[in-house]
């Protein structure tokens, strides 16, 4: 779809992005508020489909890196995504023809929209994860072998720093350290690539899908089971595999703790259908896997989303708690993560659920 992203669409995009965030991605409230103020100031953003981009066009990925908890006090600014793109153009010496998001899941779906609106540079309808994942090494751009650098980080005060690294494994800790030294949160512009490269690795049409998902959640009626068929239709013809309701049940146990900077835990769901074994949902910031009686019934790279049974609204893993009546959806992964390279990028996460 090519068209506009307007102020009125932002709540829907944020809600749809929460659905695709598979329990992670943080609370998009602040990012949504910031994007709304941004579009009030700059007007709507233009969005184009990946195929509208010329093969020799120049695209960069824009988003935020850091600890969501610190942004509780370190507020985002409406112009920071704008400034990081400008700084990138100046430092690297090339103005991008289009912008693209790191990840559609959570806050990062909204950040590049403001830069696109302010600079009149179109935003690509798509992203580099199709969901939320914790590290830059897991972006489809990195999996395709595109260099993340030269990259530019910008802190809350507008200070910039250029990064050059041999590969994404070396870059990831550099940009994270930059964020932690500058108040815990920074924006960055990275993965400069050609239109041809982008088209080969982007997870396409995810901004449009988020807006449609958000609108569906807001306007529809019925519980998660009743809405399964319509939700499945929304995913038909997209880059994702089929959506399927794998179970509904009550959260009968949930414990989590912070390990190495990640929220790690396991939730137990008692199935509504009597006689069935309870489900175990593994969490590491995101929902990673669902097991039943020791048997894996859904696992990364498939997307696993837990929603409130009554309303179908996605539940962030931080908000999951005892007694909630939830439904579990499995959505087939985009092909990007089923290749050997794609799976390899997720291996650290897959190891945690198999080990």
């Amino acid at each position: 779809m090519s068209g506009q992203i307007t102020l009125e669409m932002l709540d829907d995009i944020a809600a749809g992005a929460a659905f695709l965030a598979t329990g992670g991605g943080g609370d998009p409230h602040l990012a949504c508020l910031c994007a709304k103020e941004g579009l009030k100031a700059y007007g709507p953003a233009r969005m184009i489909a990946p195929e509208e981009l010329a093969d020799d066009a120049f695209v960069i990925a824009v988003g935020a890196v850091g600890a969501p908890t610190t942004s509780l006090e370190l507020l985002p600014s409406i112009d920071e995504a704008v400034r990081v793109v400008k700084a990138y153009a100046e430092i690297v010496g090339r103005r991008p023809d289009a912008l693209v998001s790191f990840e559609i899941g959570g806050s990062n779906s909204l950040i590049p929209i403001v830069a696109a609106a302010a600079l009149g540079i179109p935003l690509i309808d798509g992203d580099g994860m199709g969901r939320a994942l914790p590290e830059a090494t897991m972006m489809t751009y990195a999996i395709a072998g595109i260099s993340p650098t030269p990259a530019v980080g910008l802190d809350y005060a507008g200070n910039t720093e250029r990064f050059d690294a041999p590969d994404v494994q070396a870059y990831e800790p550099m940009i994270r350290r930059f964020a932690m030294e500058r108040g815990g949160m920074a924006v960055s512009a990275e993965f400069g690539m050609t239109g041809a490269h982008l088209k080969a690795c982007i997870v396409p049409k995810t901004v449009t899908l988020s807006a449609e998902l958000g609108r569906f959640l807001r306007t529809g009626e019925g519980n998660a089971a009743e809405r399964e068929a319509d939700l499945a239709k929304l995913f038909q013809g997209t880059i994702y595999g089929p959506l399927e309701l794998i179970a509904s049940g009550l959260v009968s146990d949930y414990t989590s703790k912070v390990v190495g900077g990640f929220d790690v835990g396991e939730a137990t769901l008692e199935c509504v259908v009597k006689g069935e074994e309870p489900l175990k949902v593994s969490v590491k910031n995101e929902y990673l896997a669902v097991k039943q009686a020791g048997r894996m019934i859904a696992c990364l790279p498939d997307l696993i989303t837990l929603v409130d049974f009554e309303t179908g609204w996605p539940i962030n893993a931080e908000r999951l708690r005892f007694g909630q009546r939830v439904s579990v959806f499995r959505i087939g992964s985009p092909a990007h993560y089923t290749t050997p390279e794609g799976l390899a990028s997720l291996q650290p996460l897959i190891d945690t659920v198999q080990g």
């Binding site: 602040l30 910031c34 600890a67 610190t70 509780l72 409406i78 112009d79 809350y156 932690m180």
Partner: protein, 521 residues
Amino acid sequence: MRIGIDVGGTHTDAVLLDGERIVASCKELTSADVISGVKAALTELHRQAGEWPRLETVMIGTTQFTNAVIERRELSPVAAIRIGLPAGRGMPPGVGWPEDILRELGDHAYTLPGGYLYDGKPLAPLDEEAMQACVEDIAAKGITNIAISSAFSPANPEPELAMADRVRAAIPDAIITLSHQIGRLGLLERENAAMLNAALRPFAVRVVEAFVGALSDLGITCPLYISQNDGTLMDARFVREFPALTFSSGPTNSLRGAARLTGLEEAIVVDIGGTTSDIGVLRGGFPRESNRAVDVGGVRTNFRMPDIMAVGLGGGSLVSEDGLSVGPQSVGHRLVTEALVFGGSTLTATDIVVAAERAEVGDPSKVAHLPKETVENALTSMRAMLEENIRQMKPDKQPLPVILVGGGAILAPENLSDAAQLLTPEHSGVANAMGAAIALVGGEAEVFADYQEESREGALQRAKDQACDVAVRAGGDRASLKTTEIEETALPYMDDGATRIRVKVVGDLARVPSAGEGKPL
């Protein structure tokens, strides 16, 4: 003896307590001016007690401040100053507020450089010139209600204090609310709380004066305390400074009252009213608090609020003809004219329990015609609504006692799944006034610590000291304060050791010698 009063939207309840014992209790209608309802309740207590005993304290829980925000009444213009630039450009104080309430406050927003980062480094130096220009602008506008916030002020309030000094110097009659005194981490939510509080302060002065006046008219001159949203008290001076801390004190009082009426400290409390059933959880005798952002009148805040689930089931809930659907629409306070048993023409939840012979209310012959199937369907629906939501509120698998309070307690079945026992204590109709009467004084503080740089003990002590200071300001006796809650949260994506600590202390009221104590009415 002490008196507890709860001013609700519909009823003003009151109890007179001699130690643990209820000497008198009553339920009056809340009057438009609030005060005559309070006077009516006090007069009724006096009538029941026969002779006015020696009174130590009067505790009042009131919804007036919450309602003022929700109804956009009694709000004063506010100048909101945030010290946090260069972060948050384009996101001034008031961002995201509904327009109608922002209009009431006047949208006087100022942003200045300064504040701190999570690791204690300054976000930016203070800009003395900009601070002075801001103060002069506010003085020129003639605004005296001022809310000041700064980034990470719960960890380091210095910028808020410096700004307040400057405001006081230029505007001697300024009424200043500092965000670190009122809210938790979360700059926007804390700032919103400070702005609402600032807007309510002139009204708070009038409310306190009216309460003191009403008591004095009836010859009561003992100290007056007001309930806070966490089930603790503040004295009259404190409520003039922090009226916003009364938000949501009604449900808290009903939970605390239920605990006292049953002697249970771990339980589920279901307060069934005319329109909703409010379900809350008692832990150690206090309400479990919500960890979510709470909207008050469309404004996002992070007040410490009880975790309450409101279910659309009350005595006035509408019941469909087949009984399969109950609520959330309700005839509310018109129950006494519109329900079938009262000669009306609307089928309500109350009619169902009367038809099922589970309660004697109104005229049972008016519901004799109801098909058995309708009654049974409705009872099943009502039971499912309660059981489903109780299950969601329960902290874990263990069955807990369920305490029923409020006028609609008759709607509940004789047993519920997940309930270890089901209790409807004596005086359950005035549980909220009871909760007001038994409240303690509390204080809370939240700090950031890096355990690689500071010992855990040191950081906890720092948090406890801050919490005790808050409690003493609210009227507490320092020696009696005990730590009731310590919450440590490691911060995800941050260095190991970076931790948020929240501490809560609770204790007795400091004895205030009062000349008027025990005066006869």
